[in-house]
Structures are given as C-alpha cells and as structure tokens.
Symmetry: C2
Subunit: 219 residues, 2 copies
DNA sequence: CGAAACCCTTGACGACTGTCAAGACTTTCC
DNA sequence: GGAAAGTCTTGACAGTCGTCAAGGGTTTCG
C-alpha cells in the first residue's frame, strides 16, 4: 500500500528539481487526504465517518491524518473549503454561453439534472454539513461562507436570465437561492430514495419557477 | 398530542379498575421516553445523541430504553412518528379561521415565524433526520411518510389560499412544498446562526412568494 | 400470604472513536 | 558519508457507544 507516493513524486519532476517544494508538497498531501476524506464523507455522512475510515480510503495509515491536520474538525473544514472551489464555477459556462433566456433556462435545468445524477454523494454531504452546523457552532463559519457563495452563484444565473429576457428580477438573491435550493434538495432526496422521476421533475419544476422570478412581461 | 387517547382511557377508568392496563401503561412509558428523546435529539442532533443521554434527560436509567425498544433505531423511528402527530395540524387553524386571502397569508406567515422562534430545536432535528435518511436506508420509510404528510399540510394552506383569492393554483403540491421548505430552512439556519433579521425576512419572503403560486389575476 | 408477572437498575462486554507518543524509514543537505 | 529534517507507521491511551444479562423491587392476583 505505502511507498506508492514516492514513485509518483519520483516519476514526475525528477529531472529538474525534485526537492525544494516543502510547502507545496505539504499542501499536495493535504489535498490528497481531503479528496479521500470527501469520498468517505459522501459515502457515509459526517456522523459515521472516522479518521481510520478516511485513511483506509487513501494509501496511508490512520496516524498520518494527525500529522497534516491538527484535529478532525480542521480536516473537515478544510474539506468543505476544498469542495467549495469545485462547485462555485459549476454554472459559469451556462451563464456565459447562453444567448437567449430560453436557452439559458434549458442549459441550467440540464446542468442541475447532470450534477444531481453524477455528484449526488457530494450534494448530500453538503446538506449534511449545513444541517450539522445548526447543532455544532464550529462548523458555522465555513458553512455560512459557502452558503453565501452558492447564493451568489445562483444569482448570477437568475440575473443573467432576467437580462436575456429583458425583464427585471422580482426576487431578492436570498429568496431566489432558497426556493431553488428547496427544489434541488427535494429532487436529491427523491433521487437517492430511488424515485426514477425525480430528475425529470426537477427540470420541469425549474422551468416553471424561473419565469416567476421575473417581473411580469409588459405585454 | 398523539397518544392522548390511551392516556385519557387510562386515567378515566382508573377508579373502577386500576389494573388491566398493560398495553396502555406500556405505551405511556414509550411516549414518555420518546419525549425525553426528542428533547435530547433537538438539543444535540441525531449523531451525538446517545441512549445514556436520553435516559439522563428522563427519570430513568440508561438500561430502561432497551426494555421498551428493541434497539436505538426503533426508538428514533418511534420518536419521528410521534413528532409527526404534533406538527401536522399546525396550520389547520390558519386554514379554517381565515376568511380572506390576505388574512390567510398574514396568519400563515405569523405562524411560520412563531414556530420558527419557539420550536427551532424540533425543526433542525427534522432536517437532520431527513438528511440522515439520504445515507441510512433504515430511516427512509419513516422520513418519506412524514415528508408526504408535510406536503399535504402545506397544500391545504396553498389550495385554500387560492380558493379565497378566487384564482387557480399554478404549482404542483410538490413544488409548492419544496419552495416553501427552502425558504423555511434558510430562515431556520439564519435564526440559529444568530441573524436577527431572519424572522422578519421569512415573513416578507412568504408574502412575496405565495401570490406567485396562483395563476395571474384575470385583471 | 405467596407465587408470578412486571418494571427498572446496575454493571459489564466488546467494539469503536480521536488523539498522540515512540520509533522506523526516507529524503535533504553539508 | 553522516547529521538533520521531514514523513509515515505502529501501537497504545482514555473515553464513549449500543447492547444485554443478572438481579433487586414492586405490583398483581390466585
């Protein structure tokens, strides 16, 4: 199991300067552990994930976690922030590539269905952590920051949708995020429980809801 | 609220035959333990709640739980169902007492704020359990049943609101529940995190959203 | 009264957890 | 080469968990 890491770093930039990368290598290990942790967390949830299980899903032993992270909470928070960077730009292509309101709506709904299908474990982990922050104060800072980032992400979609439709928005960013998040969470639950129509349903629901976020057409 | 019938029958016939109530007393103890468990669960969350802690919040010792429940999961599921009975009728008075659409909307928003303020621990417990059901299959049956019941509860409000407004509904029960649940969950999180404006915000957001659930006025 | 059923406490079990110290192994650098 | 720094494993610690058996206490009823 062990020793594989040395082969990786050895085969990579062995020619020029294999050394002289203390902080970089340190961060690389932290990210590597974070990815193993995120896999385990998405599989088992926050409560049932132990440091030994995280280490089992990596190529290291359980003691190494405490070498790179002060304690379990620091690892979790690091994971949450690491995860954030991956999902914030999820809909940026949708916003920039669309030229009509209907096209943006279709692309947005399709992207929702796609991430719901392909990244369900990560999404349920996010909802798990956000709910745990209702009980555990130490999670709140990271959760609040990510929640704000997600709200901004959604608002970029909604405001661009309004711009393309030529109609002003009729909701606050906060409300728009909340209602779309409610639909998404319901679809995620339905999808995980095994309802086959959950994916189609979220698409049609979003198609029905988004026009309501704009002021009525002047007509 | 749930097992009130058995309690009543037990106290009523106490004079004539104090005995002959094995199932009734058994159920009363189960409900008593369920209430202690719900208090603890609302305080600590599902993950950090142990049977010993539940027993500490009651007047019994930790071993008694296993006398009335086969295992921890049976207690939790029993608690969830017990909790359901208390919240399903929450908005029934709002529906039956309102005579105008505006009056219903005001009363509904006020009730949302009230339960958000007074019963926050129970609400975060519900969201905790619903999220845990995304990971733990054994919780799904009870959670799915309660979720459907809540959706019906919300739909009674929305459809009555449409009736009073003289306009047809423009959303499915599923979508109406999802968007309102999203707003509620956001407000709960904000309230628990200490945002003072969370309660006022949910009221105004609901006032803005509910009219959008109806077909546009004929004008 | 005395047997029997019921209720509850106590204490212990094996398993699991986060944490951390001790040491082996590897890499870096003079 | 050899000291020094960095990296990782191993093993153990104190604690908590769900579970359950053994045995008092209490109540019920013939």
């Amino acid at each position: 199991m062990a020793g594989t890491t040395s082969t990786v770093s050895g085969t990579a930039a062995a020619s020029s300067r294999t050394r002289r990368a203390p902080a970089d290598k340190h961060d690389a290990r932290r990210n590597q552990l974070a990815e193993s942790a995120l896999t385990t967390l998405g599989e088992l949830g926050y409560a049932r994930t132990s440091l030994r299980e995280i280490a089992n899903n990596s190529e290291f032993s359980h003691g190494v976690v405490h070498y790179y992270f002060h304690d379990k909470l620091e690892l979790i928070v690091y994971c949450v922030r690491y995860y954030k960077a991956q999902c914030v730009t999820r809909y940026d292509a949708v916003v920039s590539d669309s030229t009509t309101a209907e096209g943006l709506l279709d692309a947005f709904a399709a992207k929702l269905v796609e991430t719901l299908r392909d990244e369900a474990p990560m999404h349920r982990l996010w909802y798990d952590l956000r709910t745990q922050s209702m009980f555990e104060e130490s999670l709140r800072e990271a959760v609040t920051m990510i929640d704000a980032t997600l709200e901004e992400m959604i608002w970029r979609v909604v405001s661009r949708y309004a711009e393309l439709a030529g109609r002003p928005t009729a909701m606050t960013p906060s409300a728009a995020y909340a209602v779309l998040d409610g639909l998404f969470q319901q679809a995620l639950l339905g999808h995980l429980v095994g309802q086959p129509q959950a994916l189609d349903q979220i698409a049609s629901q979003v198609h029905g809801l988004m026009p309501l976020m704009l002021a009525p057409a002047p007509s």
